[in-house]
């Protein structure tokens, strides 16, 4: 890919937020005003409810690089995914010491135990975990809706406040706006030459978890405008999709793009699965609309049947004209590891090659990974000839 990075002022602003995270200026100001900040784990936690309670929700992520995670290894044991260990390491080192609460869902073994140990070892005034069913049936929806109601009332009790429908509707609107704008950003990547690279897109996404959504929306609007006028164009020898375990390291995407590929889309909980579906308030209560969206959203590997996820992946492959898929699975990320043989077969059926990488969270994609990506790109290139 042509690797010159985009020099747009708004993009730099997002990058600065990420660089400062977890202690950003905006977060410090919020804390100074005596307002609250909550950390959330996993995309099955309905952020709108936290937002409607007047709290800033930030996504708990780990270090932006591969690290020795000695403390976390001792707490979570070495066989939990390095995402949960990296997050925990930051938590136990006090890097998230400003958090007033942590909210999680019963999504996978790694995430639920991260939540358990966070609550056990790290002083946190409020914590809550939602039971998240693994199905999309109406029965599952009503259970999850109950869980969302329970979460809302637990929060109301803790804050001694009432989160009314007007507040929820406002939060839905703010979050849907962010989803819509991120969708627009992704639309730009469908072009042959894109105004933004895959690694830069990841910077934008990372910032979306770490800023107030109002401020993020404002800046993303400007960025979209800047991008529409930008003469900078990115193109690559192969159009790639990245999928698999949680990953939010732009360096990893950059290392792929430095080798000549262009990451045009992805199937990650830190990106597409985060913004893809809006909350649809269509004749239902706002809370129900929220709960519907979160359970029906672009599914994670934890959901059954997996075909729903596989179909969405195949649809994106068509829409973004993907030549090859890079699957990156964090060691001990069992949900994604189990799906690998199944998705590999489905991609083979539609003639899409897949490179499967075992990685650790935060990897920058150097060394062995680099060699394998290079060989994959060469293979894709040869197929075109």
């Amino acid at each position: 890919m042509n690797t010159k990075s985009t020099c747009l002022p708004t993009f730099e602003r997002f990058r600065a937020v990420n660089k400062a995270f977890p202690k950003t200026q905006e977060i410090s100001e919020i804390k100074q005003r005596g307002e609250k900040v909550f950390g959330w784990l996993c995309t099955y936690v309905p952020e709108e409810i936290i937002h409607a309670a007047g709290i800033l929700p930030v996504r708990i992520t780990g270090y932006p690089r591969e690290m020795e995670l000695e403390d976390a290894n001792a707490y979570l044991y070495i066989n939990n995914c390095s995402f949960s260990r990296s997050c925990f390491q930051m938590g136990i080192s006090g890097e998230y010491d400003y958090l007033d609460g942590v909210v999680a869902g019963s999504t996978c073994d790694g995430a639920r135990r991260l939540f358990d140990l966070w609550r056990h070892y790290i002083d946190i005034p409020y914590s809550h975990i939602l039971t998240v069913p693994r199905k999309f049936t109406s029965r599952a929806h009503s259970l999850y809706y109950d869980q969302v109601k329970l979460f809302k009332s637990s929060l109301e009790q803790y804050l001694e406040t009432h989160i009314d429908d007007a507040k929820l509707l406002n939060s839905i609107q703010v979050y849907n706006e962010a989803r819509g704008k991120l969708k627009k950003l992704y639309e730009l990547r469908k072009a042959d030459k894109t105004p933004i690279s895959g690694s830069e897109t990841m910077e934008v996404l990372n910032a979306s978890f770490r800023m107030t959504k109002e401020s993020f929306n404002k800046h993303l609007d400007i960025l979209l405008d800047e991008l529409s006028r930008s003469r900078e164009k990115h193109h690559g020898e192969a159009r790639l999709m990245v999928m698999g375990s949680v990953m939010n390291n732009p360096e990893f995407i950059k290392s792929i793009e430095d080798l000549g590929g262009l990451v045009v889309t992805d199937e990650l909980c830190t990106s597409t699965r985060y913004w893809s579906d809006p909350v649809v308030v269509d004749g239902v209560e706002p809370l129900e609309a929220i709960s519907k969206r979160y359970l029906n959203n672009y599914p994670c590997a934890r959901m059954v049947p997996s075909e729903e996820r596989f179909d969405r992946i195949k649809k994106m492959i068509r829409e973004y004209r993907v030549d090859g898929v890079i699957s990156q699975i964090i060691r001990y990320c069992v949900p994604y590891a189990h799906d690998l043989p199944l998705i590999t077969q489905r991609l083979q059926e539609i003639g899409i090659p897949i490179l499967s990488l075992d990685v650790e969270y935060g990897t920058s994609g150097s060394g062995q990974v680099r060699t394998r990506v290079q060989a994959f790109l060469e293979m894709l290139e040869a197929r075109k000839r």
Partner: protein, 422 residues
């Protein structure tokens, strides 16, 4: 599929179990309950072996699956993890199964019994099941295993979504899941659920759980009447024959034997020196050696709260399906491994250590089992607070390449020395 191959494997299980049963019977002073245990194993695989001839369906299922429903519908259950364990334990075929699992693309971090199950189906080593049933009780591995198995076997399947926490709404959700599963099984088998039979099974399950509780009480005795292999046999009764006469017969016999041992002040080992708590499961391929080491050192396993401590509660045979759901909230494994760690898991372990006068605990840290290992530090600290030291041994339940007998022996010997010095 090579039907000759599949019947050979199941037949080997049956022959080995029968042989062990006979050998046990001929040993002077051997427990009759152990003979019954081996007979239970033989019966279980005989049912699978005869299923086709008898026109019955075979349902392959994951661990902690409510097979009471299957028994009531006259469908033959095939416990997938146990079947892999047995392949490993009795036939020493684990390397072959695991190699096949990785050939399918399953990463080495996936729990080995599950890699083995996939390998076993891919190798067509066991009868092709008519249905695959799986559930998220108890981990991501069980939750994620079913779809690949459906593809490998070409069998239809049902995923039973077991809720994470314990609330009335979640119990109702599970009941709904069970109802849907019954309908699915009725469609596949063409047979209706026999509700009366299910009620009878629930009635017997109550009896079975009471026997488990009674046995747990008896095991508090000093000297301990049961050794380390005893607990693995103990838990199998419910895994294979929940609410069935075989389980009742075995547990009753065991209870009576324990009572008489206690009365006669007979311990499981000649000179009881260390009363141990075993947490999680030791490598099954090393079980024979562990029995020897424990015997030599005067060590006994007196409590295994993760697998033997049942919750309080009684099932209502007049509401059989609700009872099946409720049972999955009573089983020890759910208390200790599923749901938030803030629940009863840690207090249970601490209380057990006190009630059973434990000298030390051994945590078998099975590297494929992530959620259980994540609790090791919390457990260790909680036990240390009541002055019970805990040894952690990294291992694999079935893969013999992970730790050798010598390594485990050395770790145990050091631990025993430390306990001795205290």
């Amino acid at each position: 599929m090579s039907s000759a191959g599949t019947s050979t494997k199941i037949e080997t299980f049956i022959q080995t179990a029968n042989l062990l049963s006979r050998m046990n019977r001929s040993q002077p002073g051997a427990r009759e309950s152990r003979t019954l245990y081996y007979r239970m194993l033989a019966d279980y695989y005989n049912n699978i072996h005869r299923a086709r001839q008898e026109g019955k369906l075979i349902a392959a299922h994951t661990v902690f699956f409510p097979t009471e429903v299957l028994y009531a519908m006259d469908i033959v259950p095939m416990h997938m993890e146990t079947t892999t364990w047995l392949s490993a334990f009795l036939l020493k075929e684990q390397s072959e199964l695991l190699a096949k699992g990785s050939e399918l693309g399953l990463a080495p971090e996936i729990c080995s019994p599950h890699r083995g199950v996939a390998g076993m189906f891919a190798l067509q080593e066991i009868p092709k099941p008519d249905v695959i049933l799986w559930s998220n009780l108890i981990c991501d591995n069980t939750a994620k295993s079913g779809e690949l198995l459906m593809e490998l076997t070409g069998s239809p399947g049902y995923f039973l979504d077991n809720p994470f926490q314990d609330s009335p709404g979640e119990l109702d959700y599970l009941i709904g899941e069970l109802k849907e599963m019954v309908t699915f099984l009725e469609e596949v088998s063409g047979k209706k659920m026999n509700w009366e039979k299910l009620s009878e099974i629930i009635e017997r399950t109550n009896k079975e759980i009471d026997l488990y509780r009674e046995i747990n009480e008896l095991r508090k005795a000093v000297p301990s009447p049961m050794n380390i292999s005893g607990y693995l046999e103990l838990i199998s009764a419910d895994y294979l024959f929940p609410g069935q006469v075989q389980a009742i017969e075995y547990l009753t016999k065991l209870r009576d034997e324990l009572k008489s041992s206690i009365l006669n002040k007979e311990g499981a080992v000649t000179n009881e020196r260390f009363r141990l708590m075993n947490l999680f499961i030791p490598p099954l391929h090393l079980l024979g050696s562990l029995v020897n080491i424990f015997d030599e050192q005067g060590a006994v396993s007196v409590a295994e709260p993760m697998f033997t401590r049942w919750s309080d509660g009684k099932l209502d045979p007049s509401k059989p399906l609700r009872s099946v759901a409720q049972k999955s909230f009573l089983i020890p494994e759910r208390r200790s491994m599923y749901g938030p760690l803030k629940g009863p898991a840690i207090p249970d372990i601490v209380e057990s250590a006190e009630q059973y006068q434990v000298d030390g605990a051994i945590y078998w840290a099975f590297m494929g089992c992530r959620h259980t290992c994540a609790a090791i530090k919390v457990i260790k600290e909680a036990l240390n607070e009541i002055d019970v030291p805990m040894l952690t041994i990294d291992c694999d339940i079935i893969d013999p390449t992970v730790n050798s007998e010598d390594e485990v022996r050395e770790q145990l010997m050091q631990f025993f020395e430390m306990l001795e010095d205290r």
